[in-house]
């Protein structure tokens, strides 16, 4: 592939925001990805007033082009650093205005291209911003607590000979296993109950709902139990308190379930509208 005939920088775009003057004071305090300053890129055309702006940083092309990113996205430390920097900017903006977050590592060849995208998508971005105004995302995660073994670890599976010589041991082991299985089933049932209660009690306070895949794998805290629900809700700010209370009440009395309520988040999970015109216009 040939080197693009462009400068040494790419433009990293974090989010769309209304071009609010209030941000003039916020931006200088923000540090973006790669330690870069953040500024606002807005259309200045007369005709249609700027409906949306991008918060952007200039980043070195050599470290952010495709080749570099392919390598760097393999690096969990780099990914974390970048994700947290992206998040820091979004949070900094969200504290002052409505934010429509862009996907991590949204890059433009230069400012002219970023402006062209703003021009092309301005209306959709403005619509999205209007939809998200005065709304906040919360995460609702349910975990099934591990069922404690009746006699944890102390009862190894009896060898055939041992079972024969000590008839009680094998039966005790099986009963303990059965009890554990029961407890486990019960915890899952409680999780279902909790999920139903959340749908019944909390969801009415919300404007939208997204289900993320349940979390597992190396990034999850071990010992936290099994994550069985990983939802995000878009909540009108006026309903936030009622929503949180309803979510907490949903797990009351369910000792086999652990709730994790995360947020407030910028509306990451709700940034993408039901897909509007995507394909290139004729």
């Amino acid at each position: 592939m040939s080197t693009p005939p462009a400068g040494p920088s790419l433009v990293y775009a974090y989010a769309a925001t209304p071009p609010a003057p209030a941000l003039d004071h916020v931006l200088p305090a923000l540090t973006g990805v790669a330690g870069r300053p953040v500024d606002l890129l807005a259309l200045t055309d007369a005709g249609h007033g700027p409906a949306a702006a991008f918060a952007v940083s200039d980043v070195p092309r050599s470290e952010w082009d495709e080749e570099a990113l392919k390598v760097r996205f393999e690096d969990l430390d780099w990914l974390e650093e970048t994700a947290r920097a992206h998040h820091r900017v979004i949070e900094g903006l969200a504290a002052h205005t409505t934010v429509l977050p862009l996907r991590l590592a949204t890059l433009y060849a230069d400012r002219a291209s970023a402006l062209a995208a703003l021009r092309h998508h301005g209306q959709a971005l403005a619509t999205g911003l209007a939809r998200l105004s005065a709304h906040t995302e919360y995460g609702v995660k349910l975990y099934v607590r591990p069922a404690a073994a009746a006699d944890p670890g102390a009862t190894p599976p009896p060898a055939a000979g041992a079972a024969a010589s000590k008839p009680g041991a094998g039966r005790a082991y099986l009963e303990a296993r059965r009890a554990q299985q029961h407890a486990r089933d019960d915890h899952y049932a409680q999780a279902r109950t909790a999920a139903e209660r959340i749908a019944a009690l909390a969801a009415p306070h919300t404007a939208d709902h997204v289900r993320h895949p349940a979390q597992s794998g190396p990034l999850t805290a071990s010992g936290a139990g099994e994550n069985v629900l990983n939802d995000a809700y878009l909540v009108p700010d006026a309903a936030a308190e009622a929503f949180r209370e309803a979510v907490h009440s949903a797990v009351r009395g369910l000792s086999g379930v652990r709730l994790e309520l995360t947020g407030p988040w910028a509306p990451y999970s709700f940034a993408a509208p039901p897909p509007p015109p995507t394909a290139a216009a004729p």
Binding site: L10, L69, E74, S269
Partner: protein, 74 residues
């Protein structure tokens, strides 16, 4: 640790769990077509293969080298 009022949005050093952040940053957010260099496909954190996140670089195969605004209607 008591969590007082976490509603201090914008508090820059509020440390969120990376896994929750990646749920949102790698699957959420608006994907705008155009000059985007990188877009990330749906991610399954169960078997995270970061390489699989990379799909393509638009600039590398930019269909039209002519300038952006020129393309606009009129």
């Amino acid at each position: 640790m008591n969590a007082p009022d976490r509603r201090a949005a914008g508090l820059p050093d509020r440390q969120v769990a990376l896994v929750d952040l990646l749920d949102r940053l790698l699957a959420g957010g608006v994907v705008i077509t155009g000059d985007i260099v990188l877009s990330i496909a749906d991610i399954d954190l169960v078997r995270i293969s970061l390489r699989a996140l990379i799909s393509s670089v638009a600039t590398a195969e930019a269909p039209r080298p002519d300038e952006d605004g020129a393309r606009h209607g009129s």
